[in-house]
């Protein structure tokens, strides 16, 4: 569904995306995991035709994003990281504008808008102005809007950023439901639990480069499924083992001066730290 070959975007001295080679398969939820500034949003902007790559290529559904932008635009729906809604319009008007832009006829528009507002649980808010809605509701309007033209691919840039736990779970449910109905989903996130909970495959991006790719389980297996945290000399040390049994055996062999021993499942945060030496939430020095 998405293919990139040596995709690169340079802003002055900053290489926001560098030699990105990626394939997102039809029907999967693919997560692009990385800290703020790693190059996730730049990638989305290239895929959505808002930014030209410096070099390399990207295709959506077989169409080149640079030379065939109009065909590409019909393929995807997008939910941007920031709120991108005209606050002076009502929920229905936002939906209608988007339906018109995608060439839906009058009868189809009415049917599709009613269907989608019901789908995202906003049917009763149709006549309210965007400015009067909560953050979670606005995000759901953006999801509904992105779906208006039955896109085969949904691009979600940090879809739950800034939302409370309840609103976040609701968006997750929505994403799973959309995927189960056949939509391919490409999402960027810097939330470990989001990538683990939703994605079939995850690409880890760091300083514009793809540094690991696989299912959450595959990525953890490379490290070890069990993690042991120990406190020694005021520093936390991490060790990884293929199984809990091996981790427990290691703990039993530790000398008594080792404090605060925790045995747990490893996660994608561990994978990221091992690969980069820093945490996902630390952010990057670059834009993107």
């Amino acid at each position: 569904m998405i293919v990139t070959r040596n995709l690169t975007k340079v802003y002055g001295d900053i290489r926001a995306v560098e030699d990105l080679n990626l394939e997102v398969r039809p029907g999967e939820i693919f997560g692009f995991l990385g800290p703020n500034g790693a190059g996730k949003t730049t990638t989305i902007r290239i895929l959505t035709t808002l930014t030209k790559p410096t070099s390399g290529n990207a295709w959506i559904g077989g169409f080149d994003v640079v030379s065939q932008p109009q065909e590409v635009k019909k393929m995807f729906g997008v939910v941007q990281q920031h709120l991108s809604l005209d606050r002076e319009l009502t929920v229905w008007e936002v939906m209608e504008l988007h339906a018109r832009l995608h060439g839906l006829g009058s009868r189809e528009r009415r049917k599709r808008i009613a269907e989608l507002l019901d789908y995202v649980g906003l049917a009763k808010q149709a006549e309210r102005r965007i400015g009067e809605l909560s953050g979670g509701m606005k995000r759901r309007v953006m999801v509904a809007r992105a779906l208006i033209h039955h896109p085969r691919l949904l691009l979600l840039d940090e879809p739950t950023v800034g939302l409370d736990a309840q609103a976040r779970r609701r968006i997750w449910e929505l994403i799973r439901r959309l995927n189960s109905e056949g939509a391919t989903i490409f999402l960027t996130t810097h939330y470990i639990e989001e990538a683990e909970a939703l994605c079939h495959r995850v690409g880890i991006i760091h300083r514009g480069r793809l540094i690991a790719l696989g299912s959450p389980l595959e990525l953890r297996l490379r490290l070890g499924l069990a993690a042991v945290e120990t406190l020694l000399d005021d520093r936390v040390h991490y060790r990884y083992f293929p199984s809990k049994e091996e981790a427990t055996a290691y703990v039993q062999s530790l000398p008594p001066e080792v404090k605060m021993i925790v045995v747990r499942d490893s996660n994608l945060e561990d994978v990221f730290v091992e690969l980069t030496g820093r945490k996902v939430e630390d952010g990057e020095d670059t834009e993107g």
């Binding site: 035709t49 808002l50 709120l83 991108s84 005209d86 606050r87 319009l89 504008l97 988007h98 995608h102």
Partner: protein
């Protein structure tokens, strides 16, 4: 056909907003031209004649041009500026399968409509207190003025990197045109070099054309063509800026 349909779609959203606040918009937009009329027309210009007509007759077509300029520029530019930098919803248009041409036309049309609404309302006032003539060429010039300054507003909004940039553009471009653009005095007796500089302002040509028609004088086709050239140039630059900024 698709271009026109897509342009209408872009225009449609701005029309919905205008529909909900058109009375307030009309009242606030008419405040300045009415004040100009009172201060310059009835106050300063009482008893003055320019080129054989009373100052009121002289100044009304100029204020109509000025009103069309301000309402069109702000009507198109300010909303687009807010859409781009504050609501950030302009990207949604760029990611829709419609052409840059439709986006520019659609975003300009709201300025044209606002310009026509306010200048027509002021024209009604002018007709009640003077013998201003309305002709097809007067209407055509007014429409061209609205399009020209709408495109200028869209261009300013596309280039602006902040809300302050729009204010700066207004201060540096619109304010000088307001007072030097042939609205309140005739440029005929000014020194040649100054006259040449002022003729670089599109408002000068709009005022000349509207005034000639309103007062029944021969129509300055050269000014009409210059105004048309400004409109086309603003439109083409808008298109180029938009295409350069996206794929």
């Amino acid at each position: 056909m698709k271009i026109l349909k897509d342009s209408y779609s872009v225009w449609w959203a701005d029309l919905r907003i205008l529909k909900s606040l058109w009375q307030r918009f009309l009242i606030t937009s008419l405040t300045s031209p009415v004040l100009y009329l009172l201060a310059f027309g009835f106050g300063l210009g009482r008893g003055i004649e320019i080129g054989g007509v009373s100052y009121i007759e002289f100044v009304i077509p100029g204020i109509i041009a000025l009103t069309a300029m301000n309402a069109s520029f702000n009507g198109a530019g300010m909303k687009l500026n807010v859409d781009r930098l504050f609501y950030k919803c302009f990207d949604e248009l760029l990611m829709s399968p419609i052409s840059s041409l439709s986006i520019i036309l659609g975003k300009s049309l709201i300025g044209v409509l606002r310009g026509l609404m306010v200048s027509s309302a002021f024209l009604a006032i002018g007709l009640a207190i003077s013998s201003t003539r309305i002709t097809p060429l007067f209407g055509l010039t007014l429409l061209l003025t609205c399009f020209t300054f709408s495109f200028m507003g869209v261009l300013a909004a596309l280039l602006a990197k902040s809300h302050q940039d729009m204010a700066t553009f207004s201060s540096l471009i619109l304010t000088p045109m307001t007072f030097l653009g042939g609205t309140f005095f005739s440029l005929r007796d000014l020194p040649g070099w100054l006259k040449m500089i002022l003729h670089l302002m599109p408002l000068v040509h709009s005022s000349r054309c509207l005034r000639a028609e309103a007062l029944g004088r021969s129509f300055p086709w050269a000014s009409f063509l210059v105004l048309l050239a400004f409109g086309i140039a603003f439109f083409l630059v808008c298109l180029s800026v938009l295409k350069r900024s996206s794929v």
